[in-house]
Amino acid sequence: MSNSEDKIKREPLLRVAKKAEISVSKTMGLTLLALALAIVAGGIFLLVIGQNPFKVYGTIVHGAWRSKLAIQGTIKIAIPLLIASLGITLAFQMKFWNIGAEGQIIMGGIFASYFALFFDQLPHTILLLIMFLAGMVGGGLWGLIPAYFKTKFGTNETLFTLMLNYIALYTIKFLTEGPWHDPESSGFPKIASFTPNARLDKIFGVHAGWLIGLILVLVVYIYIRFTKHGYEISVVGESVNTARYAGMNVKKIMMRTMFLSGAICGIAGMTQVSGAAYTLGEGVAGGVGFTAITVAWLSKLNPVVILIVTVLFSMLEKGCSVMQSAFGLSAATSGILQGIILFFVLAFDFFTRYRFILRKGRKA
């Protein structure tokens, strides 16, 4: 009797439990409902600040697609997000919580920039190939370090990868003010712009990063679904002990996968510096590494879904930017609106995976 009372006392009022898998159509329905609610909630916010929600939403959608330039702009936003999300997916498949995409993008950018700045006399194709590989190595090393420490000393990868982001960011700051400082900039801290030889070529008006991204969607999809490596990743992700029991070298798999995860993020860094910025600056990753976590998670780590979600995210960002100047709204306003929409979608995502259980009342 007293035993069961204790039990009731110890049980929290609200408890979170995993739901049984629900069907695809139900998930889709819930997501659409979430979007609808998000739009209503965002609309109320817009009404409160004295805007016409229909006009604002119209501008957001129209702004992302209204002209060739606008579409190109949306695609440019999508490229690094797509590539970084694919990179993160590899690590997340393995339940290795790589929060360090931001740093891996930056490192990829730094490594690629080294060749762009100091070897720009090389033939164009060779130079860009080297930059591509350098970007992969840079990002890959930045992913390998936390994996090594995790397998060797059991360090927490979430904290470790997060901290590495700041080291990477401050490395750019150091390079900007120190060894790579542009001597012609008369005292302003900046790195010189790349010569045209070190710039990524454009295909249909947008730098070739979009093609690299699309190819990577295919490559990552095949890698996860149809290769031995991909199978190993998912086994390690399900249970390290099972993997060990099956005779897999868990340490090797972990380090290899994190290198690849970082390397793909590094490619995002390379395409940003050589295709979009034409220089290396502190804004090279610009938070993409964190947004990519949301994208990968919302897409349930499916590369094809990632492509779709990335396009939607980029539309929202591009459209909000157009909305800002069209209605004279501050950046904070569009930040709040994006936040509301994301909040609803993520909350619903939570409810499709988990449910709450209320503590049952005491029975006499």
């Binding site: 159509s25 889709m28 329905g29 697609w65 209204r66 002209s67 060739k68 330039l69 606008a70 579409i71 190109q72 702009g73 440019k76 936003i77 900007t176 008369s186 005292g187 302003f188 801290p189 900046k190 712009s193 940003q272 979009a276 910025a277 034409y278 220089t279 600056g281 502190e282 804004g283 090279v284 610009g286 930017s321 157009v322 800002q324 100047s325 069209a326 004279g328 501050s330 950046a331």
Partner: protein, 395 residues
Amino acid sequence: MFKKLLSMIVVATMVLSLAACGTKKEATTETTATETTATDAVATEAPAAEQTTKGIPMEDFKVGVIHIGDPADGAGYTFAHDQGIVAMQAALGLSDDQVIRKNNVNDTDAVAIRTAIEECIEEGADIIFGTSWGYMDTMEQLAAEYPDVVFSHASGYKSNGTNFNNYFGRIYQARYLAGIAAGMKTQSDMIGFVAAMGIDNSEVTGGINAFAMGVESVNPDAKVYVKVTNTWFDPTLEGQAAEALLDLGCDVIAQHADTTAPQMAAQNRGVWGCGYNSDMTKDAPSAHLTAPIWNWGVYYTMAAKAVLEGTWTGENYYGGMAEGLVDISPLSANCAEGTQEAIDAAKQKIIGGFKIFEGDLYDNQGNQVCKAGEFISDADITGAMNWYYKTVEVK
């Protein structure tokens, strides 16, 4: 099953409608593109001079502005520039949707800069003003990519002679006047100066020198102590730099920094200061003396009008007090007696041709930087003023 089919159809129609929308837009932009190439071909056959005089119909004219901060700040650099845009809009009679503002564009993020400028082009901007130094390289690249759009960049040193120029002004003239107000007010003969950038930066260093010369002209005993923040916009760092100077014993705080933080710090200590960019008397009413200010509207109106009327030449612009581009804000009641008279006299001298950087001048290392009867060239003022005046000391 039926439900699944239905949702798939809905998705498919959505995708299709988007695609249709996209292709339609693309088709129309393509036709306009061929049209412009056709007119371009005609234009290249005609003499080059005719090309620059074609002008733009008033209702199609649009102006883009890239701001590093937000005009809503109500004071400081971005606010001052935006007041100039507002003045230009009023002078030319443009409607609100003919002015495209992109605010809070980080000037160390080349991708963000490019995105912001391309969005202005997308909206049909004919001239785009970039107000921060860091926009320079991206504007240079875009000027080559979009020869039909005029790019005008503040405070840089690059230009291409056609659709990419730079504009700036002789703000050092106004700093000289602010120096007079500071020199007459100080009691400790120690004046602090919060500087955004170090000695390598000609714009900041020249401003400090002119300020120190203004101080010296009325108070030969006073010294100017400089603290560098290495950032154009950082309220915390700027406030801390001012605190450090106040701790030294400075009783007037001048600044080449974007925010009101140094003036607030001076006010908290019950001493005085000279702001920058806009009249900061309203922000620190019991401390502020006067601030060197910009009337950017003078340039923005002139440049936008030139593009509108087709008289744009692509020349660089370097205006001063005589043109009305720079001035100081009205003196506050905090100023010492006789300040107005001293400043009015100096102002007349400057408008009358006094160059400030002229005559027998020495830096703080004891080197002669200008000989008697000579003056320092504009090129050196904008690009090579890498020495501090003899009464300046860096802390």
